[in-house]
Symmetry: D2
Subunit: 438 residues, 4 copies
Amino acid sequence: RESEFFPGIGPVEYKPSAEPSETLVFRHYNAQQEVLGRTMEEWLRFSVCYWHSFRGTGSDPFGGPTIKRPWDDGTDSLDNAKRRLRAAFEFFTKLGIKYWTFHDRDLAPEGKTLAETNANLDEVVELAAELMNKTGVKLLWATCNLFVHPRYMHGAATSCDAHVTMYAAAQVKKGLEVARRLGAENFVFWGGREGYHSLINTDVRAELDHLAAFYKMVIAYKEKIGFKGQLLIEPKAKEPTRHQYDYDAQTVMAFLHQYGLNAHFKLNIEPNHTTLAGHPYEHDVIFSSAYGMLGSIDANTGSPDLGWDTDQFPMDVRSCTMVMKAVLEQDGIAPGGLNFDAKVRRESTDLKDLFIAHAAAMDTFARGLKNAASMISDGVFAKSINARYVSWKSGVGSRIARGEATLEECEKVVMEHGDPRPESGHQEHFEAMLNHYI
Amino acid sequence: RESEFFPGIGPVEYKPSAEPSETLVFRHYNAQQEVLGRTMEEWLRFSVCYWHSFRGTGSDPFGGPTIKRPWDDGTDSLDNAKRRLRAAFEFFTKLGIKYWTFHDRDLAPEGKTLAETNANLDEVVELAAELMNKTGVKLLWATCNLFVHPRYMHGAATSCDAHVTMYAAAQVKKGLEVARRLGAENFVFWGGREGYHSLINTDVRAELDHLAAFYKMVIAYKEKIGFKGQLLIEPKAKEPTRHQYDYDAQTVMAFLHQYGLNAHFKLNIEPNHTTLAGHPYEHDVIFSSAYGMLGSIDANTGSPDLGWDTDQFPMDVRSCTMVMKAVLEQDGIAPGGLNFDAKVRRESTDLKDLFIAHAAAMDTFARGLKNAASMISDGVFAKSINARYVSWKSGVGSRIARGEATLEECEKVVMEHGDPRPESGHQEHFEAMLNHYI
Amino acid sequence: RESEFFPGIGPVEYKPSAEPSETLVFRHYNAQQEVLGRTMEEWLRFSVCYWHSFRGTGSDPFGGPTIKRPWDDGTDSLDNAKRRLRAAFEFFTKLGIKYWTFHDRDLAPEGKTLAETNANLDEVVELAAELMNKTGVKLLWATCNLFVHPRYMHGAATSCDAHVTMYAAAQVKKGLEVARRLGAENFVFWGGREGYHSLINTDVRAELDHLAAFYKMVIAYKEKIGFKGQLLIEPKAKEPTRHQYDYDAQTVMAFLHQYGLNAHFKLNIEPNHTTLAGHPYEHDVIFSSAYGMLGSIDANTGSPDLGWDTDQFPMDVRSCTMVMKAVLEQDGIAPGGLNFDAKVRRESTDLKDLFIAHAAAMDTFARGLKNAASMISDGVFAKSINARYVSWKSGVGSRIARGEATLEECEKVVMEHGDPRPESGHQEHFEAMLNHYI
Amino acid sequence: RESEFFPGIGPVEYKPSAEPSETLVFRHYNAQQEVLGRTMEEWLRFSVCYWHSFRGTGSDPFGGPTIKRPWDDGTDSLDNAKRRLRAAFEFFTKLGIKYWTFHDRDLAPEGKTLAETNANLDEVVELAAELMNKTGVKLLWATCNLFVHPRYMHGAATSCDAHVTMYAAAQVKKGLEVARRLGAENFVFWGGREGYHSLINTDVRAELDHLAAFYKMVIAYKEKIGFKGQLLIEPKAKEPTRHQYDYDAQTVMAFLHQYGLNAHFKLNIEPNHTTLAGHPYEHDVIFSSAYGMLGSIDANTGSPDLGWDTDQFPMDVRSCTMVMKAVLEQDGIAPGGLNFDAKVRRESTDLKDLFIAHAAAMDTFARGLKNAASMISDGVFAKSINARYVSWKSGVGSRIARGEATLEECEKVVMEHGDPRPESGHQEHFEAMLNHYI
């Protein structure tokens, strides 16, 4: 009989009256509680990411591994890979999260050849299928790791070496097959090495052309094998590259339009990446949603004073409220979800830290959901916004909006009616209202 | 007879042997000198901007005006406006620059009504036409100031108040007429107030829709009146807004594609804006050029440690070399140019500082041009780049690039030929070669 | 009888049950409510700043004034100055704030000579004294504006021109006299122009020596006239200079030590400046407090994605909680206070926006105070922190802390007892506990 | 007989006429060439750092090792350690560099106990002594690695666990002994883990007190064993910590003063750290030099658009000119030097890239030296600076500077002589002069 990996921990319970120092509980997240007609679980669609939470070691550019897990013997064996996976499913279940995500290389070790690598992967995937079936945990998305291996140092789809791109293509082919096998609801591309370090040894136009060609091969194969998941691109501004081609939401949308790919992809937005691109936390969520392109969210945060990706657990109620408001306004994030692309600090070395971190982040998003739902039900924000834009709903305003007006017509209005009278934007009033909900 | 505004200064001469402390000369810029088959003047197409150099006062958010010009009596009179314009043309001529640029409101004061404002503008424009005719100085581009007046505090084309947008439309109508009258080679839109301060009181999708509708009215009127200049959008990340809709080159390209406007616009890239968006100095020049969208350049620089637009004169030879390399590679910047959207420091209060700043920047770009031309003639960079990408020119590499390959085909190559062997990118070697030219 | 400047507004009332859209109330700030043995008013010592709230016009580097007040006729007359001051005292009273702050030049216009300027100032100061006496509003601090006038473009105490420094000295002499006349509890120096734009035309050591010499003159005169207020230096990293000599709290402390001035000064910390220096919001508050140097706080915030000082009203509950925790831990901020060095957005043009902004910020700090008080009363943070550092309280740990140990002694312990065992830092647990209080 | 590790490469020769693509040469660095009375070698005192150049593998937070050296068998054996060291000395010699630097743990593997670790270290140190003796290469500085091992995850001298601090103390004791054994001219402390990640679980004052106590033990032991090298602290703003206690030059100087340690330490300035702290490249070099605290320089650079330490080779002639100007003005950097704390890019995988990178950086600094020497010999900068500050050399200006003046005296001057007249700062003129030298 299989041993327990987290003895004495969990399942995490809903206990709104917990003491301040009691953090291994939910104070706000109550999976079956209804909010605006759906359960919290349906709105929030939380997912645990396998790489940080089950492959992370706490190493950083200036330090070695700090996190050692009792089930992990430090080898690259398939046995170790499978034990780790069993531990993960115990974690998912005790935490009460219904989705997970992974990179192909998180699951199983690379072999000497691609064929051997694929065989290793298949073996662990079969165990994953079994555990998913047993626990009911589903695969939010899969992705291919096209950035860790030295072969990808110049990029994968955008490598200067076409042979490398072929390798990436072969790897993605297998990744799509695995995604279909496990019923992945999405498939993500994060181009960690698709970018440049130096403009003087790089042909950016050629590289972007190759990236588009690569995606066209992906679409063709996805359709061929009947994989139904949504394709997602995850923007990031920089790191590890100096400039990543998928800089932010708008840059990815530019790319998709430039190459006629926009019908095939949506975006997976990670707020820590949004802030690294110089935007407010919720910016890319809102902008991609505005164009129907918000597919999923990597729920995490950075420290605004730092210039790199810290992948911290999201703990700020205001930020989570703004994100959930956008999600509610587009009627949910499905088939995407809120994937905790977040890692416990390298100093948080206890097993229970992993639970506490997830539980606290789930609680923060649950508060965000409840806050956003109140804001929407009360209607005070919608009413105030509508009042600000009312002039666009009739007269020449509506004619401009519908594309029927001309500069001459506008001039005529001004000549007749004179100058507009500026009205206050009342930003502090809006901020005070928001604080009421937080 | 008209008095001289810069007595004892200029014309600025080419004097390569000038002493170190002699800065009111050109050491490198020699207008008629041939470089790669054209004169320096033809490649560089320098332009003086009227707002910084003839309307700037040195005031900043923490300080009042420091710069007082002898011809400026501080009033808003038309006489003052005309005297200032005469001074400017003396400056252009003595400096030996063949283009200028302006905002409508730089030229003439606003009146009590739009009609009066337009009449003021017409009066000064007639003088401008006369001075242009007399001196041979041409108009690189005109633009409308849609950001200083309080009416535009919530935006112009993206204001929450449609009446404000109509006012902006009327203003641009007149601006296009003026541009046609003066033979402007381009017309620029910089959306300084088109963006948001707060996402909680803003409907971003509506505002972007209105912006697109506005541009469609512009295109219609431009065609109606037969204005032949190139329309340009100038990206900026932020400031004065928290987020400007035209964040960077790719964001503008996304917008143009989303609304089907890409055939009608090119970009006016300002490197100080590029660095504010988090990119390397030459990034947006290179990326817009890669897609045939580089229309013109606002030649300036910021301080990389500062988070706002300092609009300094470009003095870094390496940066200017990189920009000119991109310009040479797209066979020139015409009908655009290199517009010095740069201001003397507020502590540089002497008239001669204005000359020195422009001359030193022109010299820096002349060095950049000569360096880039040598890099291209010598061919060592092109040869090295071609060698890096050679695998894309034949075999399956070329099939991927042409859109003919499949994931299966790629997998087959890898199964047969195994893993690629990573090759050095030799970045430091490229940097050392670049330093050779600087 | 004097007219009312804010008819129909105020006084602002404590109304915890106000509707979401009702923002001209206090929901949390209840001046006389006791928290940890003092009233809210005693802990919070709020102050209105005169420059933003009564001299601000909404102009920014790209736009003109948007804010017009009914009492302000736009002239530089003494009558206008006095009317403005009366409006301010009505505002202070209706808002229920007991302190104000100003720059000398906020109060009265400059004259043609320093003597005339001083006479103007005296006249308005007498009215201020009268209004303070009548309303009970006190002067938290005064300061001299040594940055707006063109004479200060190269610095005041650090100008390259000693004559300018003499002017600044004369101005500060008068400023100290005014501060004494009005019973200022502190006197602030913010060196907006004390710094450099370019290192190639600046002698930084000479300038810092002059700054120290200047402060020594200030101390001598302060003692001579018997002014008892605390001298404060306010750090800022940059803007308007490229580098301000008082970069952040530690930089100022270095300066004070280098010149033997540390006994005479404390710091006035502005969090928006702290974040511009690259630190977390509460960093400089905590670091200056750690060395007994926290004298007062300029309560405001910036947007973390912007590189300039936005001086927004502080609305983030978590940040205000952290600040108030530091204030409680040093047993209060007196004789300093929480000065709202914050301005309504330039689009917030209504009179009531000014009330709403202050009330909402006061409420946010009141929440911060209550949260911090609970954290301290409950003792869970203190207990957890003490547990982390327990090894320093006894044995060789305490010997090191007391300066009694040697490297040899430490080595001996390690040779005998071996390697330490790393313990988790439980950061997410601490964050979850903090969220419980917010 | 020992094999050659870099067959077919070097020694690097001075060849000013090399072709553009020939980068494995010196075009400017000519060791014995005299500049301002010393040889280039004497001014520049270049040093190779062992960690990047002989322990670096090219791994980054998103990727595995890319750099494999033929002499490195990937084991932690002493044989491997020694072979690596022999390769390094061949490299130093062929490159023509006279100094090296290392961390204790770069040289030899850790053992199971501290005693074993020390024995390993001793064994490799003996080989180092032999190779240094044979080649004449000297040790610029040694340092202890107190940040990679998991035991240091909460800091070393500032750990919450005193046992960890004792371990660090024992390690530094050995480090000082090794430094003495090898005749190190300096000993460096870089507190990579001395800082905080979160203010809510940290007692910053206690940690800084412990850091000072630690340094006092170091000073005592240094004096006891008669180690004569200069102690240096290397500031860095952040990374890996969120805030490092030694944020920048001024912060370290504040710390040294606060604890009375300033006579015992100087600073080791790394420009990539300076820019991460938000300052211009040469800022900390100039500021520490201004207070006689510039001890040594870690010659490298970052990319200004990135928020982390990239440790690139310094290739910018202007920056290196500014640094060398400061070095010349303080009459040299000895006993410090210019240590290349820089790594080849992880894509620069060839052995010759290591040579090219160092040679190109040496050339860049040689250009900087020659430029700075010309600037100083020509005297145009000194003359212009003196003219700007002339008012401080006589009259009341000199009285203020000498601490003899009063506010009253200054006021009297202003009352008599009126307002100062602002003079231009001529920044663009200075920039143009600088460009003349570059």
